[in-house]
Symmetry: C2
Subunit: 363 residues, 2 copies
């Protein structure tokens, strides 16, 4: 295992899309949404154990989830948890991780990845990451992972590559032409047809020095803020410094702040059974289904005359469900949600209503 390889897992999200399972007190990355016995964060951590030593894996999360991270990953030490005192999107989070890792090992090559995605072909994932780590170590590139799109999904960003600039040692690695934010359906269809667009998986690989150089160039005000704490990283003063400095950063994504502006950006075209699990629909795709196409998490769920449902019940809860067609039925912490799958975008509104009518403790 390469001692210069590092990993930053971003686990600060507070998404309520899978409410009631995901709530502010327990967002998606911390829950066993697939019913495998491990949370998405735990699975992500396990995946990166094949890439770098455990002590080289850092978890960036919101301060309020520090204990949750320690509880779910008891094998990591406190200094490996980066606590964000406020939400500032991905660029400040990565700038912070850069400085912290730089203090330990300036020769690091780093992979940065979200904690709440699902990846079904884990061996292929390891293969892709190791190839990208190797390419990033030997080139001045900022590498991002692109997923071979299977449908004109309008929920993802797209990356267009240049077929003529391909890495000699791995022809899956190509120079990026353009980044596109979530497109309209018609445009997504054209992207798919053109054959040179990939989904943006939000997974980045780079040599630390190249990432830091890019911040200095494209986000100098964020860089300066973290630069000012050079003497604090990995000391008892780090937390105070971050608590004071982090909120001063502007809120900006690494895609918008760096990747879309930089010149030396490459994308590795991958296919490892990826989903960002952004919707119940995408979760449904990743769960095993019974003969009536019901995807069921929970040991004591009995279905009668029901089809195309996604049911997520606490492990031992007995549920008898009859006559439902295309519904989400989910329960967690004593909160029950029943909602048509096709109306899942309304869940955000339900959560807002619940918060207003019943109180913050439920959301």
């Amino acid at each position: 295992m390469n001692k210069n390889y590092y990993c930053v897992i971003m686990a600060g999200g507070v998404g309520a899309r899978f409410w009631p399972m995901s709530r502010t007190s327990q967002p998606k990355q911390f829950i066993d949404i697939l019913g495998t016995g491990e949370s998405l964060l735990q699975r992500t951590f396990q995946r990166f154990l094949k890439v770098c030593p455990p002590e080289n894996i850092f978890i960036a999360t919101n301060s309020i989830y520090r204990d949750l991270v320690k509880q779910q990953l008891p094998e990591i030490s406190d200094f490996q948890i980066l606590c964000e005192p406020s939400r500032r999107n991905t660029a400040p989070c990565i700038a912070y991780a850069n400085y912290k890792i730089h203090q330990i090992n300036p020769n690091a090559t780093v992979v940065v990845a979200p904690s709440d995605h699902v990846i079904t072909k884990e061996d292929e994932f390891t293969n892709v990451i190791l190839s990208a780590m190797d390419a990033a170590t030997h080139n001045n590139w900022l590498i991002t992972l692109g997923i071979q799109p299977s449908n004109p999904n309008t929920g993802y960003g797209y990356i267009q590559f240049d077929e003529n600039e391909v890495y000699a040692k791995d022809n899956r690695l190509k120079k990026v032409k353009t980044f596109t934010e979530k497109p309209e359906l018609e445009m997504a269809k054209q992207f798919l047809q053109s054959g040179d667009f990939l989904w943006n998986a939000g997974i980045f690989i780079w040599k630390l020095e190249n990432s830091m150089r890019a911040f200095k160039q494209y986000l100098p005000e964020i860089d300066e803020l973290f630069q000012s704490g050079l003497s604090y990283y990995n000391t008892p003063e780090e937390r105070d410094f971050i608590d004071k400095t982090y909120p001063m950063c502007k809120n900006i994504s690494i895609d918008y702040g760096v990747m879309e502006k930089a010149e030396n950006v490459y994308v590795l075209s991958s296919e490892f059974g990826w989903s960002d699990l952004g919707t119940w629909g995408s979760l449904y795709e990743h769960l095993p289904k019974d003969k009536n196409r019901n995807a069921i998490v929970g040991r004591n769920v009995m279905m009668y005359n029901s089809q195309d449902c996604i049911v997520n019940m606490p492990k031992d809860k007995l549920a008898v469900i009859q006559g439902l067609d295309g519904f989400i039925v989910a329960e967690d912490s004593g909160i029950l949600l029943i909602c048509r799958k096709e109306d899942e975008q309304q869940i955000r509104q339900f959560v807002t209503d619940v918060s207003i009518e019943k109180g913050e403790k439920y959301v």
Copy 2:
């Protein structure tokens, strides 16, 4: 209050029709199925406090529910609870109560009523019962309450009266011509049209001596069994005697064993908002409904785009329900049921399946 008036509330049923709220460990009569804060048994007890002194009210139940009765009716003393060691339908239960009350007060007039019915016009109910008690005290009649039918319900038994034999002091009280078990729909329609049929509410009023005489005549073998325990009633030996004797009785209803055979049977034609709550449908009728015709029990139930549902959630449970039309959604003791209202007859099958697949503790 007339000291000779007594009441026997029959609370031995084990119906699973309202599963998961009603289960073997907690049948319908013990649950707050209307969400009023009182169980059906408690409401029944309250109603009879307007008829006779509390110490004259007896509760007949299965031995396994003794503690449940004591818990729900802490004001009654142990000797007022008649424990049936096995299920033998209504006739043995009433024979037992007769002997027990006779030992205390041979001049009693008794009303016998189920514990699990709903009655919305309680003042009218009191009025009807008191009129029947008075008539029963002064005549050798066995009186049953008949409900003015509002529809050709095939779930009830029917009683035909003789319009020409009416009690002078209360013209609602008429001699019975025939009893009919649950009819087919066509026959029920004819009953309704004829105007001389009433629903059988299963509520009986008689002078104790007349009831006991009827048992001696029509069910002598049951009468002899209880006669043999004369010296035990209301003594510490009563329980042992009953545990031994009760199971020897044949399983027979008071309707079939006595009322349908006796000559001096009268019916009091009543209208006090009665239902035996035999189905979710009948419960639905008795619950208040929102503007989308949803009947909701539970403080934290939020409905979106849902109509004609009946929702019964634990008091504080948060449930968000979207897109359901004509469903039962019920939870109790951590068991969730979702079922189309029109398919509620399948619930019995679910309960059987649950008992086989998941164990007796759930049913």
